[in-house]
Amino acid sequence: MRIPVTILTGYLGAGKTTLLNRILTEDHGRRFAVVVNEFGEIGVDNELVVGADEEIFEMNNGCVCCTVRGDLMRILTNLAKRRGAFDGILVETTGLADPAPVIQTFYMDEDTFDACELDSVVTVVDAANIEAQLTRGHEALDQLIYADLIVLNKADLLGAAELARARFRVSTVNPYARLVEAERCNVGLDVVLGRKSFDLTRLLRIEPELLTGDAAHVHDDGITDVSLVSDRPIDEGRFKAWLGELLRTRGQDILRAKGILDIKGSERRFVFQGVHMLSEFSTGQPWREGEPRASKAVFIGRDLDRRAITDGFAACAVEGGR
């Protein structure tokens, strides 16, 4: 069993430390090791709190997007030696961090991958200031794009109309993440922890208008998301070859890719996810008897060629039935 890891991101002042302190002090019956970027900020004396220096390295494969966190490899593989002393690990990033190197660490370092499993990316958002943060730079945008769960914090400081506007603003950047509102991060911890988001079951309830098979959102900053659906089963070999080529040639622009597929000849869901040039395949839940099967995938990135991705995915489907 790999140890589940939750990544906690959020812009400066959004409320990450408040959430961490709650996780460390509330009686929720589980123990977490916590990797923090500012050791002194946590007001809890806990042997399982680890301070980390953000050490971002480029790998030597010549790809500028293949960056990893060297400090995290060390910390996570060492924490894994204390298997049984805690139930999961939380990694807090700095307020201006791009989540990609953190996520990529799980795929580019074999020892981290063997020991730990990326459970979800939780992004805490300051509802009152997100609009300004999104216009100030790419950091807040990146943090939203990689989120599986968005905690819209400080919701109590806004009126109903402003809050609705903040919700809309956030969901236009990432319509796939679950969005919860909170005051002083008073979100239920069962919502935050142990989400198993990367099994991607949420993709099965993508907004209805995205399920037409050719939907695409175009955001500001050139961020595009391309949503794909197929009612016909997918040929596994064809899909892997296509995805491999797509990530190899366009990986620098693809921020996230994920999907659940109905593979011809398989009784189980096929799950994939990617970050830049990296991808991971796994087997998900079995399809139930009589359950309608479909394949759904989403690509989020900069200046994506919607037509090429849609056509490429369609060509992975097999003719006729299963």
Binding site: F39, E47, V49, V50, G51, D53, E55, F57, M59, N60, N61, G70, D71, M73, R74, N78, K81, R82, R83, G84, A85, D109, E110, D111
Partner: protein, 342 residues
Amino acid sequence: MGEDEQIQGVSFWNFGVHVAGCLFGAEGAVYFTLTDGSVARLEAPSSASADRFGLHGGAILCQAPAPNGGLFTGGDDGRLIQLSPNGESVDLASLPGRWIEHLSVSPAGAALAMASGKNVFFFPGPDAEGVDLGTLPSSIGGLAFSPDGGLLAASHYGGVTLWDFSSGETTLARVDLPGLALATVFDPSGRYLAVANQEKSVSLVDLAKGQVRQLQGYARKPLSLCFAPGGDTLLTSGNAGFTAWDLDTEGDDAPLQIQFAKQEETFLTQVAAHPLFPVAIGGFSEGSVFIAELSAKAAVYVFNLEAHKPTALAWSADGMHACGGNASGVCFTALLPALLGA
């Protein structure tokens, strides 16, 4: 080890938690350091019972033998502790909120060095205070004294930093290496420094010639490195079998890689060279332990550590005993003749 694996001269123990390291103390005891913060001690390799000492508040991350017996341990509670042969423990350093991840003693035992994050602390003598040698460019991945104790090497992103204490005045040098440098060992003569790399290679630094060679051809990170006693063979983990590099110590030929005793669907996680003979002990990720004859580049199976990967292997200084432990707490001590099937 099952019922069918009772081997004369080999004893097994189960301490129930991940084994961080193992070593033979100068007084003849065997020490296993554990990630629950305790040390298990056998007074002799053949002891029938083990003593357990709770030392650290968290996991032990590193250890080194102390000059007059006993050992030093560093932990993720930020403490450096010395455990004496009489069972007394003393705190030598405390860095709250930090981890002590690497320790090395100079072979004569006079000096001790420890690494925590980006900093190396140097203790010149047994009762001396630690001196912070400064902040390196990134966290330290490996730390080693040269065999004569004159050099201290610390690996980090972009290379290795070397402190030279031999002239009485400490001087500093840096060898540039690609990427993130990890485990670091000197050969017995002090001429070569082998440094594991995050991206599945080993940097072989020839300090005599000022030359660096990049040794490629690994399936995984080669985190366990050692030199055979003659210094002409480098042994590493990281492949499906033992990986040996024959070095041309006389001329200038590139080292030659030979892999042997390849196993299916597993890889070597630990390897330790015998201190006197061209023999090595190696452990595979599915728990099996092999003994290798380096002259023949061949190895034979000895026993299995209950299907969990070995995390530590060591030889006694006289080469008569080996010890080791794995990720679930299973440990062994073994007599050399038993390992060689004599």
